[in-house]
Structure formats: C-alpha cells, structure tokens
Amino acid sequence: MTEYLFILGQEIYKILFLLIPILVSVAMIVWLDRRVWGLVQKRKGPNVVGPFGLLQTIADALKYIFKEIIIPASANKTVFILAPIVTMTLALVAWAVIPMSEKLILSDINVGILYLFAVSSLGVYGIIMGGWASNSKYPFLGAIRSAAQMVSYEVSIGIIIINVLLCVGSLNLKDIVIAQKELWYVVPLFPMFIIFFISALAETNRPPFDLPEAEAELVAGYQTEYSGMMYAMFWLGEYANILLMCAMGSILFLGGWLPLIDIYPINLIPAPLWMILKILFLFLLFALVKAIVPRYRYDQLMRLGWKIFLPFSLVYLVLTASFLFYFDKLPTGNI
C-alpha cells in the first residue's frame, strides 16, 4: 500500500513540476505576445506592472479572479460551466507526452503523436459547448464557425503528420526527434512546415484566422457571455494550446531538443533549453503574424483549407512516399 502511495506521490510531484512551469510560461507568453504586437505597431505594449511589464498577465489574472462570474439566466448551466474547464484541461493534458529532452518526459507512450492529435482535435468541444450553452446568437455563430474551421484544418494537419511519420517510422515522439539527428525535417519537408504553421494558426483560432471571435461581426464569439475566472480559463487554455502547437511544430520539424549543430560550444546548451528556444521561436512567428496580417474572410479560410492545403499535402505525401520507396530509405523500425 505504501508503495502505491509513494508512486502516486512521485507522479503527482512530476505532474506539478510540469504544470506549474507551463502555467507560468503561458502568463509570460501572453505578455510576449502583447509586447511584440505593440512593438510592431510602434507602441510600447504592457510595460508598467513589474520589470518590463512582465507581471502584467498576473495582474490581469488577479483581476479576473476577483470579478463576478455572471451566468446568463437562459444558459444551460452545467454545460456553460463545463466548457472553459474542458478547454483548459485539454490544453494542459496534452503536455504529458511532450519530450523536453531524452529523459525529461512525463509519459513516454508508443502513440505519442496520435495522442497529441487526438487531444488537439478534442479542443473543439470546449468552444462548441461554450457557444451552445450560452443560448445566445453570437456565441452560437462563433462556435459553429470555429468548429467547422478546426475540423477542416485538422485534416491537413493529420496528413502533414503522416508525412513526417513516413520518414520516421514510429509514432513515438522521442523517436521522431531522434530520427532528426542528421537533418531536421524542416529542410526536406519545408512546404509541409509552412502548411503546418498556417494550419496551426487556424487550429488555435489565432489571427488571421480568428473568425470565431471576429469582434466586428460576432462581438467576442463563443466567449461573449463569459466573465471573470471562466473567461480567464478560456484564455489560458487558448494560449496553452498555442504553446502546444509550437511544441508540436518544433518536435515534428525543428528537431525537438536537438542542438542546431552538434559541435563543441553549441552542444553545451542543455537539451530542454533548446526545446524552449525553438518553442519561443515559433511563438514569435505566431505573434508577428498576428500583428502584420489582416483577418481572412470565412469563405477564403475554407477555400484555403480544403482546396489548397489538403490537395497539396496529399500530393506531397505521395511524393515523399515515392521518394522514400525509390531510394530505398523507408524506415523499417523495430520489426
């Protein structure tokens, strides 16, 4: 019995050791996002609370905690409360399989990439539930938009993942990173990296694909009726999802924890730091895109997803497979 308790305690310790840094980094990333956005527009961005305004997000979070939670009278209360909880849980649960280095990984499962894909495809539920349970026009329209958007971009993300898996021959995230020791997949699969990046923008409802919450048309989309802590949970979940997509991109294409080049002064930098640097790099791109690209129209978004990305990634998949087959480079794995 004590053995079980000991294992349980150890696991809880590990989970906390993962979750707390993620929550803190989500707060920092929100600050970074706003800061980059400000700098691009020649503003200063948040710079008052704490050094360089670093504590701005924490101040915001405190404000949200102390605000009153208003539940609309006509809302479906259970689902209404459940929606932000689902969003945030799913965004955090996915981090269990992200390898920060060869040893630093919470659970090293065989089907890690499928798990990530499954959890990110479940993310749509938080939004649909929130939009429907609010029982009001704009949230529902926003929820429908975002569900259609996420479902359609998931398809091309799935095919991009298959592209990478063809080169690796394993669904394990650690194997995917180790397979890139010679060459990061961003080089041979560069078009896929671009499509992955754009699909990740659409999947996380980031500008220029933030149609679910397009202010001019839908007030704030599915978040319209939410207030206080529940809104903050949606918002935390959203940014945790963005970070997750960045982590996924750096694992699939940028070689995870591997150093840029494996020579003396550079490979002294510890592996988790490389991973964090790559995530930050991708996030910086996310933030820049938010600042410089205008919002897409809805039909353009759907056209881009179904008529351009899907056929292109399918053709690239066939090309990758034929290349690997012709040059006899298909990974045999551990058969």
């Binding site: 689902v79 065989n110 039909d299």
Partner: protein, 208 residues
C-alpha cells in the same frame, strides 16, 4: 494489478452509465454529450488492454470528428420541439423497431461470445505474432498484407458514400453570385476607378 482493476472498473462503470444516459436523458444535446463520454471511456478501455492505436483512433475519429458533426446537427434542431413529439406521446412507434434492433445485436453478441467459448484458441490462432513489436506495427503488418483487399474495399465504400452524400446535398441554385478569385485579383485600378469632376448642385451621371 489492483490499480489496473480499479481503472478498469472505473472506465467500465462510466461507459455503462453514460450509454444508459444516452438513451434515457430527455435533452438530445445531453444525449450526445453522454455519447461522447461513452466513446472516451471505451477508448480508455482499449488503451488499457494494450490496443493503444485503436483507442487513439476512436478518440480522433469518433470523438474528434463524428461526434462533432452529431453535436452540430442536434444543436441546430429545435430541442423544445423534440421534447414534445414522441417522448411524451402515449403511443410510441419507435419501441418495436428499437426492440428488434437490440434483439438482433444481442443475438450477434451471443454468436461472437459463444464462438469464443467454443473455440478458445481463436485469439492465438490468428496470424498476429504477439511479440514485443508495437501494436501499430502489428496492425500495419496484417492490414496491408493479409487484409489488403478488405482494407481497399472499405476505402472504396467510404469514398462511394462520400460521393453519394455530396451528390445528395449538391444543388445548383440559380441567381447565386459567386466570387471569381482570378477576376478579383486581375482587376486593376485604371479599369475600376474613375475620377470625375463634380460641379456643385449638378451632380454626376454614372453610366451603370
């Protein structure tokens, strides 16, 4: 082992409870939510028996895509109307159909489980070699070799149903204005913008 059975019973109880709630709950949307919970717990059970690939595929396909569409359809329906029609009515015409379907499923289950009892080496006699290679590898090894025909046939059936669904919903509506992207992009300012001198109190006549 204790932990294993605790988790097994946990997921099974949730699965059975939520599948009961699917058919008994009054609101259709709640039914779909319970259906999703059911899918998730069944997926977890799959993972527990070591079929992690199947479990994940259930999560991705059923929960991530199919149930989303279910939810869409159900949310678009008028829930209040649904409550009145057949649930409260005295004579329900759905019960006989439901009974027939459930009896059929029960008989099928009997055949499957009975066959298992009759020939208990069914699991080991299959061509799967249960060595230490991963679940996904095993599936791939048999799916693309022994069962390639069935796999392809299933794909063709899915493709056919997809084409059928598109054909059923596709209709040409007259008078619909569509945007032509090439036309939009190839417009240039000189042909689309015209500067006119406007005299005060006279106005300007525009051609079209």
């Amino acid at each position: 082992m204790i932990a294993h059975s605790i988790f097994f019973y946990f997921f099974s109880v949730i699965a059975i409870f939520s599948s009961l709630m699917v058919i008994t709950s009054r609101s259709t949307v709640n039914s779909v939510f319970f259906l999703i919970l059911d899918f998730i717990s069944v997926g977890c059970l799959f993972i527990m028996v070591g079929a992690e690939f199947l479990g994940m595929i259930i999560l991705i396909v059923y929960v991530g895509a199919v149930a989303v569409l279910f939810l869409f359809v159900v949310m678009m329906l008028n829930v209040a109307e649904q409550k009145q029609s057949w649930f409260i009515g005295k004579k329900s015409t759905h019960i006989p159909t439901g009974l027939i379907v459930s009896v059929l499923i029960f008989l099928e289950l009997l055949v499957v489980v009975g066959g298992w009892k009759y020939k208990d080496n069914l699991m080991t006699s299959s061509s799967l070699s249960l060595s230490n290679i991963s679940n996904t590898h095993q599936l791939g090894l048999v799916m693309y070799t022994d069962y390639i025909l069935y796999f392809q046939l299933a794909g063709v059936i899915l493709l056919l149903s997809m084409i059928g669904a598109i054909l059923l919903t596709f209709r040409k509506r007259p008078g619909l204005k569509r945007q032509d992207y090439f036309k939009q992009i190839s417009r240039d300012p000189s042909s689309s913008i015209e500067l006119k001198e406007v005299q005060s109190n006279k106005g300007v006549k525009i051609d079209d």
